[in-house]
């Protein structure tokens, strides 16, 4: 494995940890805020979850080591 791979993996892991930490509403105040009639902390939890999904999708766009293009036969079953 190249030297950059673990560093990139570590950065990605830290990004996910940060996003998950922000997704949990531990830092919200008790004040009752509503966004479109829904609790604001609930909306923020969904927004950060969407961000985690987005980062995961982007991370999965990069081909994996040893990956070959076999899309022609991708749906054997």
């Amino acid at each position: 494995m190249s030297k950059t791979a673990p560093t990139a993996g570590l950065r990605l892991a830290l990004l996910f940890i940060a996003l998950f930490a922000l997704a949990v509403p531990w830092y919200w105040s008790d004040r009752e805020w509503l966004v479109w009639g829904i609790p604001a902390w609930f909306v923020s939890a969904i927004v950060f979850s969407a961000l985690v999904s987005l980062v995961a999708v982007m991370a999965l766009t990069k081909p994996w080591p040893g990956e070959t293009d076999d899309s022609k036969h991708d749906d054997q079953y």
Binding site: F20, P39, A45, S53, A56, T61, D74, Y77
Partner: protein, 471 residues
Amino acid sequence: MIGGFGYRARKESSLKDFYLAGNGIGFVVLLLTLYSTQYSGNTLLGFTGKTYRTGFSWVMSVHFMTGIVVVYLFFAPKLHQLAKARSYITPVDFLADRYQHHGLNIVATLLMVLGISNFLLGQLMAMGLVLKGLAPNDPATKQQAFTLGVIVLALIIVVYESLGGLRAVVWTDVIQGSVLMVGFVVLVIMVWMNYGSLSESTAVILASEQHRSKAMLPDANTCRSWFSYIVIVGLGGALYPQSIQRIYAAKSAKTLRRSLQVMAVLPLTTALVAVVVGITGIARFPELAGTGDTILSVICREIQEQSTFGYWLVVVLFSAILAAIMSTADSVLLSISSMLTKDIYGRYLRPSATDKHLTTFGKMCSWVLVAFLTTVAILLPEDTTLIQLLDIKFDLLVQLAPAFLIGIHRPLSARSVFYGLLCGVATAIGIQFVCAGGKPYGIHAGLYGLVVNLLVCWSMNACIPRQRHPS
């Protein structure tokens, strides 16, 4: 019928063909089989029930389901590569190849079998709950519906699985996964049309003295539990043996990567829908008795009685619920049967057995296991909730995280992984027994076990000479 097609489509009478469909699952099929295996009866019945009990904070389920895909990012590429090169069939094949430690192989197999048998039990109970929720309000009729649901659906699963192996399972998963996707759309439309939007439900809940707290900001204990769920389900869910076997069975790395890309966004269209339905249930059925796991059935029964259109919507939805339960149950059953057959019977009791003999033994295991778990599901106390069963499973599975997630990248000695695993399991089980609810300070017993596991593993690894990594 699909079991019969699967039987005819088999290429050879081998374990690889029966349990991994010959390692050739393409993108669409892999995506739908991963989807219908990951989203189970727990998602529809357990998650709506849990939301009904706890409120908005169960949006954490969206996070932990996404967490599973995130964890895959860190070990699936290498595991898939190794599986192709070394012809793995079960998850323990990787451990046997990587660590060559008999104790680890046996303990890991037992742990996975125990963990997911619990999951299978949850699915069987969910089958019964679906029919129970639809039955008339007479307690005797409800109990009969539960028993009948468990027995008949379990029988259907074991028949098609015995005939076609993973091929039959993934083909049924394609149908079940498609129905499930439609089902979630139908569920959103149905709830929206009949009970209004999420903001309307929120207004009702905030105005209610009894349920107001369910819409309020979660307390510190719930936030700790939230983090705990993300870690334990993220790690434990990624280590489901049936999912690992799908990593092996993927036709190529690209197929797997593309499937995981789609899987990363699906929690927002599935777990979140279940949460919204649970919230609607709090607002519209505030006085529901019992654990709340029947809330979805109650909502459906009411919609069904309102109009013919509502009736057909519910029919589609219940097909989706049964699809979700059955597709998860069949995958789990096949996985357990493969581990008992290959990792215990084939590896230690009859090493000279032919593939044909092992496949027959595996089918027998499925029948015995289904008979046993069906009996347990029928006899379990009524107040056992689906989420309770889900939690215990992850406490066990998460102890395998160092062996898979760290061991696949870093040099770890077999003994350090083995003793770490034993200490982790002992700690998790000990805490489960000692602490009521098994979550001291809102954190799962399995995570305390994982910390002990990692400490033992790390300290022993520092003292014991390292083994060569297979790759």
